[in-house]
């Protein structure tokens, strides 16, 4: 295979891996909005927090798998605390108050991370058989990126099964379209909301662990991912998992090929894409609500 094609494929894999991580973060964000009408601006802060937890568990246990399992759960626990004790209290005051509250929480998390771990970049090592390259059909692929893609697909499959094949999933989907009616049927919607919120934060946590070995762990992770995930949710349409998935992959590929062809203008591509989509469809590609 000639080197140019090989380069295209390698870039494609990078793009897909980033797109998958983006989707893990964005799916939580869009689910929480769909279910509870909450724009969680602290979502990326939880993503970063999970990366730090991963570093912490890894230094304590020395086992990457333990970190991969524990860090997102610990992060989700904090997320549920925020939903239960802060967001629920101001439900009546609407979107704006929730925005300010979540901005406040993300500032506190950012400050807390800097207090406990400092501001320098912390390295996270993956187990030996996940690092390095693998040969498939005469081409070398970075194993860890393939692992990210595979893991995200597994998480996605579990989520889809949970959402479309179980009773709980049915309740969640019903609550997304009309929470008041589901509540009137005698189902404890606030409890389900807390669960969905926890799952959303857990997904962001998984993404945080996944990205830690690639970019290292540092406070700037929040700003970097926050904007991208937000843009994905907006472009895909609020509350739409399908939209988030498609747009995540488009943005992942746009950013990896964009860097290759128009390196200076790569970040502009994403926002230009969003501006064009929104100018034509203000509710996003797959959004239904105004």
């Amino acid at each position: 295979m000639d080197p140019t094609t090989a380069m295209y494929i390698a870039q494609g894999i990078h793009g897909l891996a980033y797109g998958m991580i983006l989707f893990l973060v964005a799916s939580g964000l869009t689910m929480i909005f769909g279910m509870m009408d909450i724009l969680n601006l602290a979502h990326a802060a939880f993503f970063m927090l999970s990366a730090y937890f991963c570093y912490q568990f890894l230094t304590m246990t020395g086992n990457f798998w333990a970190a991969l399992l524990l860090a997102p759960v610990a992060t989700a626990f904090f997320g549920i605390l925020m939903e239960r004790f802060l967001l629920r209290r101001i439900q009546a005051f609407g979107l704006m108050s929730q925005l300010i509250l979540t901005v406040g929480v993300s500032l506190v998390i950012l400050a807390g991370v800097k207090i406990f771990w400092g501001t320098e970049s912390l390295p996270v090592k993956v187990p030996p058989f996940l690092s390095g390259l693998v040969m498939i059909a005469g081409m070398e692929y970075p194993v860890y990126r393939l692992f990210i893609i595979a893991m995200s697909l597994v998480v996605l499959a579990i989520m889809a099964l949970l959402l479309y094949k179980t009773r709980l999933g049915k309740i969640v989907r019903a609550a997304v379209s009309d929470a008041g009616m589901v509540n009137a049927l005698g189902i404890n919607v606030p409890l389900v909301s807390t669960f969905v919120f926890g799952v959303g934060i857990w997904l962001a946590g998984v993404a945080g662990v996944a990205i830690a070995p690639i970019l290292m762990v540092f406070p700037g992770l929040e700003a970097q991912m926050g904007m991208d995930a937000f843009v994905v949710v907006i472009t895909g349409g609020f509350g739409s998992l399908k939209g988030a998935f498609i747009v995540s992959l488009i943005f992942g590929l746009l950013s990896s090929y964009g860097v290759q062809f128009v390196s200076a203008l790569a970040p502009v591509l994403m926002f230009a894409f969003m501006a064009i989509v929104l100018a034509i469809r203000p509710m996003g590609l797959f959004g239904e609500r105004e």
Partner: protein
């Protein structure tokens, strides 16, 4: 009658304080006050959209930034431009941007409006970062000449003296504030509030809702541009992060919510509170983020209507009762 007299005395007092301010408090606090005033005007212009027309923008910084960049670029490239000319170019830039955007954005409201602005705002920010040969990239545009304020043949005041600049800026900002206040008090301002409360009814009354929104949008953008232009002159620098960044947009939202979005002067209170918090915390601790975050959470939990809402509550529950009681005692 007495009320009017008291008001007059208050106005005179305010003007005297503003005039003597640099002499009393020195240069450091003058600059601090000017920063507050700039962001107060910027936040009030944001509140014209949010509080009066219920249009929630995530990207108001683009008008602020374009005003700043317009002034900075004009002063850098046009030799012999007057101060008011530079200010006018910043203002014009913001108005042109608002005119370009308003056909698209006035069709939508609510979350779509907010998101559209996030998109355009970030687009402007990234463009400012990437078009390095025009905007200077991350460094922004700095060190441009600041011309003296001059009326040919009569007067010429050196604007490099901070006190002189203070008087110039405070006059411009004060006039802007007054125009915005006047704007909300006109019959047109009343239609605006009507559009916020019940757009359909206003439409039935024969007013044009999208056009009304468009006018408010352009006015709000224009005054954000004035604030940005003054900011660029004040700092002698405009950068992508300081002028167009998402934090600048959030600043307006936070000031407005902390102050109280239901009132014209709410954002001014909010800007003052946030400025004081920042000033005090930077003096005592490095953990500004932590303190700011905690304060935002506490304000939202315990005073969700903002500072003005808190004042109103206090007036109703603490002072009115005692006043009524005193009156009763007098009668008996």
């Amino acid at each position: 009658m007495r009320n009017k007299k008291v008001q007059g005395i208050l106005w005179v007092g305010l003007i005297v304080i503003l005039t003597l301010y640099p002499k009393i408090f020195g240069i450091y606090y003058t600059n601090l006050f000017l920063t507050f005033a700039i962001f107060a005007i910027y936040s009030v212009s944001f509140n014209l959209l949010l509080g009066y027309t219920a249009l929630f923008s995530f990207g108001h910084a683009m008008f602020f930034g374009v005003g700043g960049y317009g002034t900075a670029l004009a002063l850098k490239h046009i030799a012999g431009l007057s101060l008011l000319g530079a200010l006018g170019i910043g203002l014009l830039g913001a108005i042109v941007l608002a005119l370009i955007l308003c056909p698209i954005v006035v069709r939508v409201t609510g979350a779509a409006f907010a998101m559209l602005h996030l998109a355009f705002g970030q687009l402007m920010y990234v463009l400012a970062l990437k078009l390095r040969n025009i905007t200077g990239g991350e460094d922004g545009i700095g060190g441009f000449p600041i011309p003296p304020f001059s009326i040919p043949g009569i007067i010429s005041i050196n604007m490099k003296d901070p006190a002189n600049f203070y008087y110039f800026a405070i006059t411009v900002l004060g006039v802007s504030l007054w125009i915005m206040w006047f704007f909300t008090k006109t019959p047109f301002g009343q239609i605006q509030v009507g559009v916020r409360d019940n757009a359909m009814r206003i439409e039935y009354l024969g007013f044009k809702v999208p056009q009304t929104r468009a006018v408010v949008y352009v006015v709000a953008g224009a005054f954000a541009g004035v604030a940005g232009s003054i900011f660029a002159l004040f700092q002698n620098l405009i950068s992508a992060d300081g002028g167009l960044g998402i934090l600048v947009s959030f600043g307006a939202i936070i000031n407005t919510l902390v102050g109280g979005m239901g009132s014209f002067l709410g954002p001014v209170w909010g800007a003052a509170i946030m400025q004081i918090i920042q000033e005090v915390t930077t003096r005592y601790t490095d953990r500004v983020e932590l303190v700011e975050g905690l304060i935002l959470i506490l304000i939202i939990l315990f005073a969700p209507m903002g500072f003005v809402g808190f004042l109103r509550w206090a007036k109703q529950n603490l002072f009115t009762k005692t006043a009524a009681k005193a009156k009763l005692e007098k009668v008996s």
